[in-house]
């Protein structure tokens, strides 16, 4: 187990190194420069380049960046003067993390209930309705859902605030809802098929033969075993949430790292783009690793190699 975790951590660090290297050199060949203000004199431009260390040879910039990144220092932002990228990200990360966590929790819990309800009412109207809802939930991208929610509950029936973060809990409701629908739909479909499978398995037959009521069979035997595989979904769901939250943060003006990422693209703020890229990748990899370890802990049938 520990050996496996160690191996995975080594692979994680190696992948992060590759991502860092790839982004660094991509940024080098990227067309355009952030200092394209025609008013800049050649002297001022040279001054700026020295400040940001852009006058050094590329290999030295690369080494400096790697050493810095290993210490959590991603350089200084181009667009906000004297703001270090790590500080920018550090301020915004908790916001994105809270939004993501809220959406994941709401989505998975809703999905567990809907999936179980669907499986227990297999092939009748409830199952059919939930099936349509979950298929719809998968095919609507979260940012479109976000826009529709803003229109419906922000403008048409103004029930919730549609922008900002941190002033009140009600601000988080619409963005959380927009992001939670897709995990909920994925979980529903998954739990349904898992549960149908375990309802026909031997240990459920045994529980029935022992004379347990249908409710006890479902709650104590079928449901618990169908919940374990849901853990394996958390990794892929986190990946989806990363993409979704970037646009959702923009739609709802939420000061998270996704919004920062989107804002820094048109302004060619390369240090911020690189920093967010690395942080995003690290977050996703850690989520996948945690998912794998948790799955192995709760389900001894899964063998880690």
């Amino acid at each position: 187990m520990w050996k496996y975790i160690f191996k995975r951590l080594v692979l994680l660090v190696f992948t992060l190194f590759l991502v860092t290297t790839a982004t660094f050199f991509l940024m080098q060949i990227m067309p355009g420069t952030p200092f394209n203000n025609p008013k800049l004199t050649p002297e001022a431009l040279a001054q700026l380049k020295t400040t940001y260390g852009l006058d050094l040879p590329v290999w030295q910039q690369y080494l400096n960046y790697l050493v810095g990144a290993a210490h959590g220092d991603f350089g200084t932002s181009f667009q906000y003067q004297n703001q270090s990228v790590s500080m920018l990200i550090g301020q915004r990360l908790p916001v994105s993390a809270q939004l993501g966590a809220q959406a994941l929790v709401v989505g998975v819990i809703a999905g567990l209930f809907m999936g179980a309800a669907s499986a227990r009412n297999k092939n009748n109207k409830i199952d059919g309705t939930l099936g349509i809802i979950s298929t719809l939930g998968i095919s609507i991208p979260s940012f479109i859902l976000g826009i529709v929610l803003v229109y419906l509950f922000g403008f048409k029936w103004p029930l919730f605030p549609v922008s900002g973060w941190g002033d009140s809990f009600s601000q988080t409701i619409l963005p959380t809802l927009a992001l939670a629908v897709s995990p909920a739909a994925v979980t529903t479909r998954f739990v349904r098929s898992e549960m149908i499978e375990s309802l026909s398995s031997d240990y459920v037959q045994l529980a029935k033969a022992k004379g347990l009521s249908a409710k006890e069979v479902v709650n104590q035997h079928a449901y618990r075993n169908s919940m374990i595989p849901v853990l394996t979904l958390i990794g892929p769901m986190a990946a989806g949430l990363l993409t979704g939250s970037t646009l959702i943060e923009q739609i709802f003006s939420i000061p998270g790292i996704g919004q920062q990422f989107v804002l820094s693209i048109p302004s060619k703020d390369f240090p911020v783009i690189m920093g967010t890229t690395i942080v995003y990748s690290a977050m996703l990899m850690v989520m996948i690793l945690i998912t794998d370890i948790l799955t192995a802990i709760v389900d001894p049938r899964v063998r880690l190699q």
Binding site: F14, L136, S139, P141, I144, Y151, I265, S281, I288
Partner: protein, 343 residues
């Protein structure tokens, strides 16, 4: 009550010899899958819908050229801008009237902006007076083009990579799988954005950016199928007869995993459509005045409160097309693998 044999009528074959004949017409894999697919109403509706949409996208090239959707009359922007959808029929919300925020009654915008009578825009117009119906038609065309070409590239890379990796096995497979693992732990958004930034805007760069992330799933599925199929006797037979590896892949492996590949394609297309919209939303999409579903959605976002139809119409088209692909994909998966659908 004793059964009265007189009440029973033998149906079907009338003589006993024919009754003993145990056979029904042999169905090929595809005929069988088609028979099962037909039972799934939603999948069949989706299929016809997609055929219609694809046909419409192709035929629309002739009656709504790109030029017609992009051009606008700069002198009369004030007359034609932001007209609500007007079907010409007294249907609330589709009669050229719109309720501004704060107003209690809807105003007839066609009248207040002095639009020549008789001129109607069935889906309304955008903020510089271009017909939204034309814009959406062109946008749908571009979005479908991007998604289908990107999926096709995914298919080529994914199948080649997966078959090679699975067929070779050993350390080659190991290295190739690690590469997939590393690539898939980088968020798709990052890869798409980076490539989008690197290649600059434009349809071709969007296609490449999307294609670079989508092939991973395909490669993984194809590799797993290859691992199973290469143990089959017919592969062994072909090998012992001296068939080359390439021909075995083309003649035996790929045809036998066609079902899996088709289902995977159906799942990749909506993803590509979505990523095109994401790219537009972060300013890396098609260059104006070209329209895609994504760019229509993100351009209209600022005016959501006043002209919701400008954003809801392209959104609805995007969702409907994605939904149809997913429903058809679900149906095909069940049709190709009947054991999965028995529950």
């Amino acid at each position: 009550m004793a059964a009265n044999t007189e009440d029973f009528v033998i149906v079907g074959a009338q003589n006993s010899e024919a009754n003993e004949h145990i056979s029904k017409p042999a169905l090929s894999f595809w005929q069988d899958a088609w028979r099962r697919l037909k039972l799934n109403k939603l999948a069949v509706i989706s299929m016809w819908f997609l055929i219609f949409i694809l046909g419409f996208a192709v035929v629309s090239n002739f009656f709504v050229p790109q030029q017609a959707a992009n051009s606008f009359n700069s002198d009369k922007v004030g007359v034609y801008k932001n007209l609500p959808p007007n079907s010409g029929l007294p249907i609330p919300g589709w009669n050229g009237k719109i309720k501004s925020p704060g107003d209690s009654t809807a105003t007839d915008v066609y009248q207040s902006q002095n639009v020549p009578s008789g001129q109607k825009y069935i889906l309304g117009t955008d903020n510089i007076g271009r017909s939204l119906a034309k814009r959406v038609t062109v946008g749908l065309r571009i979005s479908l083009l991007v998604a289908i070409v990107a999926t096709f590239i995914d298919l080529l890379i994914g199948v080649a990579y997966g078959v090679f990796s699975g067929w070779k096995g050993g350390w080659i497979d190991n290295v190739m799988q690690r590469i997939i693992e590393i690539l898939s732990s980088i968020p798709n958004l990052i890869i798409v954005t980076m490539l989008g930034l690197l290649l600059g805007g434009g349809v071709l760069s969007i296609i490449l950016a999307i294609a670079m992330t989508g092939w991973l799933g395909m490669a993984r599925q194809v590799r797993n199928m290859t691992l199973t199929l290469k143990e089959r006797d017919y592969v062994l037979a072909a090998q012992s007869l001296g068939e080359s590896s390439f021909k075995i892949a083309i003649k035996h492996l790929i045809p036998n995993m066609a079902g899996t590949i088709i289902v995977q394609i159906m799942m990749t297309v909506p993803n590509a459509i979505m990523f095109e919209a994401v790219l537009s939303a972060i300013n890396l999409g098609v260059r104006p005045p070209t329209a895609s579903l994504g760019s229509l959605i993100s351009d209209a976002q600022a005016m959501l409160q006043f002209y919701p139809y400008q954003i809801l119409i392209p959104s609805a088209v995007l969702v409907l097309v994605s939904l149809a692909f997913i429903l058809l994909g679900d149906g095909l998966r069940d049709a190709f693998d009947p054991r999965a659908s028995e529950d």
